[in-house]
């Protein structure tokens, strides 16, 4: 450890480590300096100046997020004059803001509201010029409302630094600055992957998911429809946060009960189809290994990654598994197998997915995923939307008695559960592939090397003497690095898992907003959500997809065997290059 230095904050002496910013030092000492454009995972922009502090001897206030501590530095964080200056800065932001809070989707969990309240802004002194650009609703997943943007730049840095999509820029300058895609293109025509991470980091309502809650309420009231729900693993691990619980509270049983109370006739589980995905994907992988097919095989369940593939990596399309995502598999068997079981016209089935993901809205609208000429998934709502619906319907979520999912598409193995976290799909696939290949049961089924939040993880499995090399990446930026390696050295891996969001689906673009004392995409929260899934896996007696009796039944009664003709018809798809072509700058791959 380096030698400590002495600094003074508000007149008191502290020993701190050098080589850090005033904000970092202050955070550790229990002084929370207000901030806006700063995010620990992103580069420092120093744009908003909300974080100013007084440093004795400095000519003007300094931005504490960018300014390093020095020996003997005397810092003031809360003088009257400073408070006033800070309040003026936030007041200016508020003056140009629509401030239609009571009709705004972020009312109650907006950082600008919280900031204004903590500054003591209680009146509007100036009526600044408002922005009137209008809302871009062109995309299936993400809508952009520059009128609510306060130009903190977090979305731009998220999209380019963490996701390497580089879809957004701050165009023009001064008051006329607008966050937009290149050429002011509509989001639907841009390179946007619909990952929704810009929504997660935006302090205001300038980025939102396309909301389907009203549509869903309407359909839930239609007596002619059979309403069928599925929900993703990560939804149960995070939805409690929208009701004030700690991250990592597993609310599976309460969510099932709440979905029934909302009016769903059948509550199934995407985890069932995660097992189904593993059956198909493991079979496809072994086929490629045995018949010298294209390797490495890359997973295909992350919708944002699929859009990224088509625009940024069209040369790797043949490497990607033809398996549909669990959500789309689930909807496909709902509208065929399940409809036949019920003896109803599949057109009468409303298939709804509650997802941690915004890109799943885009995926559901892909025409190539249609089943029997109709959409397989009719409506996708995010964790945030379903939480809002539960509240809006007056359901006492936290006190619900846990209920169980319905058969025959609701039961899952532990392998299906861990699909929600980075490394989970690979771990689940190994559990099944090993047994299919060697005919023996894998004893040590927890693959530690593939767990955790390292950007790119590697592992090895020995199957009958053959070494299978696997790799896992989460967040599209990490995926780009891994795929760059694949382009240069195609023989290095056999099997690769990619999830588009940081942490995997647990960090999806549709998860609850950060609360008062947390920050968007906090790693601690991501770990706890993942832990909830690993715990559920451990609590199950059945932990391998191929041991799930409902999966065995589905193959016996309907799909015949993994990779069969019917399975291919319903559960597999193909990808095509899409334009505009995306560009990842070389400098960011090092």
């Amino acid at each position: 450890m380096e030698k400590l230095i002495t600094i003074y904050i508000n007149g008191r002496e502290y020993k701190v480590e050098p080589n850090q910013t005033i904000m970092q030092a202050a955070d550790k000492l229990g002084f929370h300096i207000p901030r806006l454009c700063y995010h620990p995972k992103l580069s420092i922009e120093g744009a908003c100046r909300v974080c100013i502090v007084e440093v004795e001897g400095a000519k003007s206030y300094v931005a504490s997020c960018a300014y390093p501590v020095n020996e003997g530095m005397k810092i003031h964080t809360n003088t009257q004059e400073l408070r006033r200056a800070r309040r003026d800065i936030v007041e200016l932001l508020v003056d140009n803001h629509p401030m239609d809070c009571h009709t705004c989707e972020r009312d109650g969990n907006c950082e600008l509201q919280r900031l204004a309240a903590s500054m003591g802004i209680r009146a509007r002194h100036f009526e600044g010029e408002r922005k009137q650009y209008g809302v871009d609703v062109s995309g299936d997943s993400v809508i952009r409302n520059p009128d609510k943007c306060i130009l903190c730049g977090r979305c731009v840095r998220m999209c380019s630094e963490i996701q390497q999509v580089h879809n957004l820029t701050q165009a023009h300058r001064g008051f006329n600055t607008v966050v937009m895609p290149a050429y002011n293109m509509p989001m639907a025509e841009s390179v946007c992957t619909a990952c929704g991470q810009c929504i997660n980091v935006c302090p205001t309502a300038a980025f939102l998911e396309k909301n389907y809650t009203q549509d869903l309420f309407e359909k839930l009231n239609d007596p002619n429809l059979i309403k069928v729900a599925q929900f993703a693993p990560s939804v149960r691990a995070a939805i409690g946060e929208a009701f004030g619980l700690e991250p990592g509270s597993n609310m599976e049983g309460q969510l099932v009960a709440a979905l029934r109370k909302l009016g769903f006739d059948y509550v199934f589980d995407t985890q069932f189809s995660a097992d189904l995905t593993i059956m198909e994907e493991a079979t496809e992988f072994l086929e490629r290994v045995q018949n010298k097919g294209k390797l490495p095989m890359i997973t295909s369940c992350s919708s944002a990654w699929m859009k990224c593939l088509e625009q940024f990596y069209p040369d790797l399309i043949d490497n990607v598994s033809t398996c549909k995502s669990p959500m789309s598999m689930q909807s496909a068997v709902t509208k065929t197998y399940f409809a036949q079981k019920l003896g109803v016209d599949p057109k009468k089935i409303l298939s709804v997915a509650a997802m941690c993901c915004t890109a799943k809205k885009y995926e559901a609208a892909r025409p190539e995923l249609n089943v029997e000429g109709m959409r397989a998934t009719d409506i996708v709502v995010t964790t945030r939307e379903i939480a809002w619906m539960i509240k809006s319907a007056g359901i006492d979520f936290l006190n619900l008695k846990p209920e169980e999912q319905d058969h025959p598409l609701g039961m899952s193995s532990g392998a299906g559960v861990i699909f929600g976290t980075t490394g989970g799909v690979m771990e689940a696939a190994i559990r099944t592939a090993y047994e299919l290949y060697t005919g023996q049961t894998l004893v040590d089924i927890e693959v530690e090397d593939l767990r955790g939040l390292k950007g790119v993880k590697e592992g090895k499995v020995l199957m009958d003497g053959q070494e299978i090399r696997v790799a896992v990446a989460h967040g599209l930026g990490n995926a780009c690095k891994l795929l760059d390696t694949v382009r240069k050295d195609p023989g290095r891996y056999h099997f690769i898992e990619i999830m588009g969001c940081p942490g995997g689906c647990v960090g999806g673009g549709g998860q609850p907003y950060a609360g008062v004392n947390s920050i968007p995409l906090d790693e601690g929260a991501l770990r706890k959500r993942a832990q909830a899934l690993y715990d559920e896996d451990r609590s199950k007696t059945i932990r391998r997809s191929h041991d799930n009796p409902d999966i065995q039944k589905l193959y016996k009664e309907f799909l015949q065997r993994p990779g069969s003709h019917v399975a291919h018809e319903l559960l597999h798809t193909h990808y095509k290059q899409k334009f505009p072509k995306g560009i990842v700058p070389k400098s960011s791959l090092q």
Partner: protein, 165 residues
């Protein structure tokens, strides 16, 4: 001058190839955009796409730079650029009426170009000719002591292709 020909594309390619030999190729983006504007009079989207591809710089970054500098035209400009001075002296002497008269005559707003691609209209802050206010500049020529009537006569002369000294 704004036609995108294969020859021009090749010329640009050579220019970028030259830049990419230098130490920090990314920092030559502004130079490259200057070159593009010099060749086409503005930054055509198709050419910006080409620059993005050749320099491997995301289009959003290029768009950020292109919109930041007022110097860059994002739309094709007319054969003649009319700049109306709205500096204090000109303003006091009726620049607003002159601007209105031009807008009415050409049927365009500031920043726009007439459909026949003859004129682009811009505002200017003091052209340094306050002595003969109100003034306008067409391309690189200054015209002073104008009124609404004179300015329309001037435009008509340009339409006929006659340029007065």
């Amino acid at each position: 001058m704004s036609e995108i020909t294969q020859e021009k594309k090749d010329e640009l390619k050579a220019f970028i190839a030259e830049c990419s030999q230098k130490q920090y190729p990314d920092s030559y983006l502004i130079a490259v955009l200057h070159k593009v504007q010099g060749m086409f009079g503005y930054l055509p989207r198709e050419v910006m796409d080409q620059v993005a591809d050749m320099m491997q710089i995301p289009t959003a970054h290029i768009w950020g730079v292109a919109t930041f500098y007022h110097y860059f035209n994002l739309k094709p400009i007319g054969k003649h650029t009319i700049s109306v001075c709205l500096g204090t002296a000109c303003y006091v002497k009726g620049a607003a009426e002159i601007l209105d008269a031009i807008k009415r005559e050409l049927g365009i707003q500031v920043g726009q170009t007439t459909e026949d691609m003859l004129f682009t209209l811009q505002e200017a802050r003091c052209l340094g000719a306050c002595g003969i206010a109100p003034v306008i500049m067409i391309d690189d020529k200054i015209y002073g002591e104008l009124d609404a009537k004179k300015v329309i006569a001037l435009i008509n002369q340009y339409r006929k292709g006659v340029q007065v000294a």
